[in-house]
Symmetry: C2
Subunit: 142 residues, 2 copies
DNA sequence: GCAGATTCGTTGTGCTTGCAACGTATACTG
DNA sequence: CAGTATACGTTGCAAGCACAACGAATCTGC
């Protein structure tokens, strides 16, 4: 039979993503003791400033329950502050504490370094690869 | 702050892989009512012929417990047969039943079609993209 | 040839995820 | 300005996964 799983694009993509996520997660777990969802929430807050749980949910591709629990834990350990939204009291405003900002500075460096390593691994295909990834992401929305 | 999660390669890779897996899984779930691990086991058996659980575990990047349970379910529904290995009685020999082979022929067509769609989406970057993916997979082993 | 280490597949367990339900708050609609 | 619908964040719950432990079988070294 001719079908070969290990030459099948969705399979390769899935395995590569899992392995790379795992390796990167090990680095920021070592640096900060945080999980993947927590990393994503932190990273988004670092860039966006003060936003609601809903904003994060929409942008980081995580279920709102996952964001809610990640935010709670990040608050417990002091990286994130929760406060009320003045006008709409359904909303909760999340933002980094000074410690959170400090951590994100360190994690940014870790992330940039990791990305550089990946680009080096990709070599001359790096640009086309990222281009293709963007196309997949755009096309997968529909 | 400068770090942008949505331009971070591991994040993009993870989101793209998750979304594509989800969409492809919906297709073979509709065709055959199987899960992702079951699809992988079937696909590997279709290509490899009769092999042990251990062989599959090593090649499809799934934990042995996941392969074991997937194989049991596939046996229950009649796509896979288990038999003893003559020389080493620790091993279990898995292979597709005639119905399993039949199913894999249909699933191969579904998979090929899906992959063609992805390649179309990638356009001129397709070759470089797959090349890059191969490099990531090779580099991620170490 | 036998005691300990290793390998195979299965099964048990804690944890995370994804979905649904809920309470509260705001937005619509007549 | 009621009464209903919708949105927000939290919590409960079932399903799936990774990891560890296990019994059975084989290998290893003495």
């Amino acid at each position: 039979m001719s079908f070969q799983l290990d030459q099948f694009l969705p399979y390769q993509l899935s395995v590569a993503a899992a392995e790379i996520s795992r390796r990167f997660a090990a680095r920021y777990a070592a640096e900060a003791g945080i999980s993947i969802p927590e990393w994503r929430v932190l990273a988004h807050l670092g860039h966006s400033g003060a936003v609601s749980v809903r904003d994060i949910t929409q942008r980081v591709h995580l279920d709102k329950s996952v964001v809610s629990r990640a935010a709670s834990r990040l608050q417990e350990v002091g990286y994130v502050a929760k406060s009320d939204h003045g006008e709409d009291r359904r909303l909760i405003v999340l933002q980094l504490t000074p410690q959170g900002e400090d951590l994100m500075r360190r994690l940014s460096a870790v992330a940039d370094k990791f990305q550089d390593e990946l680009r080096a691994l990709l070599g001359k295909d790096a640009a086309a690869f990222e281009n293709g990834l963007a196309r997949l992401l755009a096309g997968a929305d529909g």
